[in-house]
Amino acid sequence: MSSIGLIANPVSARDIRRIIANASNLQIADRVNIVLRVLTAAHSLGVEHVLMMPDNGGIRALLQRHLARGHSQHQRWPVVEFLDMAPTSSVEDTLKATRLLRAAGVAAIVVLGGDGTHRAVVRECRDIPIAGISTGTNNAFPEMRESTITGMAVALYATGRLSAAQALSANKLLDISINDGAQRDIALVDAVISSDRYVGARALWKPENLSAVYLTFADPQAIGLSAIGGLLHPVGRRDPGGLAVQLASAEAPATLRLQAPIAPGMVRTLPIAHWQAMPADQPFDIVSDGGVVALDGERELAFDAGDRVQITLRENAFPTVDVARCMQIAASDGLLRLSSTH
């Protein structure tokens, strides 16, 4: 029986960027609708069992209300089983759920969340393919996509009608190391050096403290700090290498000023010193008087002046379900045609 995992984060897109930038708030009711569309679509293509992360943020409670209404002629769902874990309403939930899903051997993990949620999943699991649905603030990593289609693509892969070579794509990530591995972490899109050392409410949105931006890819249509790269020198998700951008400082004066959408609705001007390609497996040393490394937009790792901070880009680091390619092949190979002569 093919099982898929599902992690839906209730607290993505809930932080102060709703106040200081007009960031959207995707309601719990809408997140549950997204989940239901994934469930019904996956079920219609043969997925019988879904293992889901429980939460105390309202998604589980409302989903259970829907599921309890029973099947109707229009809606049939797989068996939805919640993982045996007690939610703590923190990123620990995502990390633990990912470990449990990996241990359960699910074929793929559908993730509803922003960049931070996806990062947490990949931190715990680099081998099970993830299919991301953007419900976060910047959504640089997960693609904007109708969740019905994501459900279908994942089901085609999970039930074996598409092979790994057909269904999956390789993704880059950044390895961050402090003091030769004393502290380690990853980023899926951007690692940003900021002198703002306060690790409180996690979102980073004050550009005056930024000194450097390291990117796995840089999409000119993205918002968030990766836009700094995307509007200087775009790099695709499947292109080799990434981009390292140095912002101006006393030691490195500005060569130009760039306008970039660093948060929803927020276009700011940043002083750029220089930028260069970031080849795979080549460590970049950070020179700084101390601060934090923000990973995919969230202040995560604090460091002092004497600490050795290195950032290295890795290619082929983890797989994602390539929904566009899956559906293209499904069409060209006739996978969804049902006829007696098939």
Partner: protein, 327 residues
Amino acid sequence: MTGNPFPLGKPELLEAYRKMRTIREFEERLHVDFGRGDIPGFVHLYAGEEAAGIGIISHLGDGDRIASTHRGHGHCIAKGVDPVAMMKEIYGKRGGSCEGKGGSMHIADVSKGMMGANGILGAGAPLACGAALAAKYRKKGEVAISFVGDGASNQGTFLESLNLAAVWNLPVIFVVENNGYAESTSRDYGVAVDSYVDRAAGFGLPGVTVDGTDFFAVHEAAGEIIRRARSGGGPALLECKMVRFFGHFEGDAQTYRGSGELDDIRANQDCLRKFAAAVTSAGVITAGELTAIDHQVLGLIEHAVVQAKAAPLPTAADLTTDVYVSY
């Protein structure tokens, strides 16, 4: 780690700790004394929720108003109401904040902008709108805060107030203290969708959800929201997910809680412990400095209880005074 990584200076951090510790010890002492039968009526304790109250109210001055809930001791202490007068009030004595005529559920100090704890859930929301309206006419950038719980967020007055605040662009902030229970009823039953920012969104108001046991998360979010309201940016909602250590009221056996739930809360979700760990591990404050505050606070609470027990009861002559200003 060198230096202070927090957005508050050391004196402010110590003050925040002192205030949170004052609430905690005030409530813990009431729990004990109520259990002994010393205290009349109903009390509803705020222990466990301190980071939210202090994280928000530390941004306010006397000209800013708050409208509280039945669980109002924490809001009172945060707003600067004298704990000795509060203890006298809870004991029903003359010289209490309300001369013994309000009790735990109605402690108020309008001179400090504390418009009262309220025995009617949700009733504070329209009152806070009124305070915000008055602030708008005064034009001094003052704000009002309405505290409600996850249960009271279902009350019509709360929903009407969201609409009114949006329509009139009032400098009012709605804070939902989501501790998961409306008396004995879990929010998973009583609240159709457990998200209060989503309710605010329905009225076009932005909202933020924070971990209410993390003082710094609350402080930062509240700061942005209050700053926005002061400069005419209008109302917003702040949801603080939190836990209460005690029952709905004192005497509540709490059989509606899961097994081990209370122990887990005390062990893992104590906002004071989290604050202490954050400031000591950052090297900004020492454990000794915090312990010194703990001792001072315990002394203050003991003093408050002694004063309350010694204070005189109101008499028959006080029964019918202050019904009106004049009659």
